[in-house]
């Protein structure tokens, strides 16, 4: 039976070279399942994200229980749409909030609220089935009050705290790779020549535009994360004269 033979030409457009690169974890008749079971060994797909909070002092409109308006969010590091990877984000707020478990099923993954207190927000990321069946939890401390306590709070300048991180998916499934290989939000590995998986039909552009945060109302406050800066500092440190001593044996 042809199903028994492995690496002998695949039902998809893959081509014989793909068989060498991929380790077949589970054998299944269903082509969809095959995409899930075949994984790219020794490769990783990563998703750079930025998550954090922006808080505005309400000034005149402030009441004792609601002195600030804040937004907590997860966005792509380059403000691209994350929904190809992230299916759902759950924000867990302080129990004093009504329905403290807030579920966001669509991008942009954010939530705005009014309050007076600072607390830790738990952000749980849920991924599409072909990406990962495990959730990933992030934690962020909501900061309302600026470091500089001098003078009254400005209603114009918010308190912004953002964290950059990258979500790493080791040994991603073939289906996942196929789906996101051309996605601007995702960093995919370079595959050897001849490795070819057909990407699914591109999504509706108007839908995608809604999901990214490039024109987000708060985008002016987004922090800049420059990899170059940090790399430069690190390289400079490693090149310090005394560091060279270790290699002089």
């Amino acid at each position: 039976m042809s199903a028994r033979k492995q690496g002998d030409g695949q039902p998809e457009d893959g081509g014989a070279t793909a068989g060498k690169r991929l380790k077949i974890a589970k054998f299944s008749e269903d082509p969809e399942k095959k995409g899930l079971s075949r994984r790219l060994k020794d490769a990783e797909i990563s998703l750079p994200i930025v998550y954090g909070t922006i808080a505005f002092y309400l000034g005149r409109k402030a009441s004792e229980s609601q002195s600030h308006k804040w937004t907590v969010y997860v966005r792509g590091a380059t403000n691209e749409d994350l929904s190809a990877v992230i299916k759902r984000v759950v924000f867990q707020l302080h129990p004093s909030f009504n329905n403290p478990t807030r579920v966001m099923e669509a991008p942009p993954f954010e939530l705005s609220e009014c309050g007076w207190g600072e607390f830790e927000i738990a952000i749980s990321l849920f991924f599409h089935p072909d990406v990962c069946d495990k959730q990933l939890d992030l934690y962020h401390h909501l900061k309302l009050y600026p470091e500089d306590e001098s003078g009254p709070q400005s209603t114009k300048k918010p308190v912004v705290v953002e964290s950059y991180d990258e979500i790493v998916f080791p040994d991603p499934s073939e289906a996942f790779y196929a789906r996101v290989q051309n996605n601007p939000a995702v960093i995919v590995p370079r595959m050897p020549a001849g490795f070819n998986i057909s990407a699914p039909a591109p999504e509706n552009t108007s839908e995608r535009e809604r999901g990214d945060t490039k024109d987000h109302p708060l985008s002016q406050w987004f922090m800049n994360f420059s990899e170059a800066d940090e790399l430069l500092k690190l390289a400079a440190a490693r090149q310090q004269p005394f560091m060279e001593m270790i290699y002089e044996n």
Partner: protein, 428 residues
Amino acid sequence: MDAKDILGLPKNQLPIPQEKKSRPPKEPQRKPDGISREVYALTGGLAPLMPSVDVSQLKRRPPSDEKVTWQWLPFTNSARKDDLQLFHWVRVVNGVPPTGDYAFAKYNKAWTKEETDQLFDLCERFDLRFIVIADRFPSSRTVEELKDRYYSVSRALLSARAPPADITGHPLVKEPYNISQEVERKRALSMVLSQTKQQERKDTEVLAEAKRITESRMAAKGPEESELPAVANIGPDNSQRAITGDAVTPSTAMPSSAIAASSTLMADNASTLASLRMLRVYLRTYALDQMVQAASASAGLRTIKRVEQTLQELGVNLKPKVPTKAVCAEHLELRKEILTLLNLQKQLQYKEAEGTSFQDSPYSETPGTPKRAPRGDQDRPFMPDPLGFGGDRFGKRDQKRKAPGRTSEAAQSPSQSKRPRKMKASDI
């Protein structure tokens, strides 16, 4: 007294003057018996409003109609097999010593013939189903006790009836029932059974961690052994201490130190990567953190602090602000390099402190390392080498460009390492 003040009640003297006329003047002076004066004063110098303990009861003597003496008398213990007679103090009431067996004899779990017969009868009836037998057994005995008794009696019978040579293969003799081991085993099993999911997860985490550590130790031992046999015996010590969480600097042997360190780190990396791959999804910062921990596993807390201090002085964030793959890799490498540096410096210190002449070993020195001393080191005036070390040291310094410039006497800073060259030129 204070309580009465608070309540606004009049003092004791006023309310019942008739009855207590003779008492009040005496109260403050007279010391109440039963409890000491100070204790009484704690309650306010007066009896509490509602005395919970009858003061006269506090030092009550035993009923005086009994005559109690203490006598030094002999006794025997029914739990003993011999007839040992010991002496002890016995409380004798009205000339009658206490009866009954020695009080602690009941704690000896002895098997009477009757009990043993009952056991064997039940064993036959219930086909050696010890759980049922334990239920039916008249006196309370655990399953393990019953089993132990049964098997030991059977073994005794067997060895009595058959010649010793024939029975050595018999399971009763070859693998005797070990009661303490059984009890322990069952206890452990029940613990595992009653583990909650969280404990299970914690256990697997700890086991994975331990496996990672042992793997890295094994990997480190491999290349180390090929380099220097002496180093190998430090290896097992290290793994032992690593598992118990202590901090140990890898090896103190100079030549292989750098190589050993790097191979240990590589092994650590490999196993950390493996455990990360198991996660299916993780954050880059978490991965970096794990790698940093793995790399610093062999370092003590103080060393780690020094690494962090060095990073800060170099203007590098302890946790990268932009943790991309490249940044994390660079950061990790930097940390490892600093660690190697510090280790080498430490070893240098040790060797110099020992006063051994490890002159020709290729270890390096660092001028003006930030953490050592203020940068003013390099501005220190040139100090001539004491004459006592002149010949040999000079000669050896010729060979290596960056040999240590310090002597154990002068305790010069490492910044002097560049000076020897000048010294060689001027002095020779």
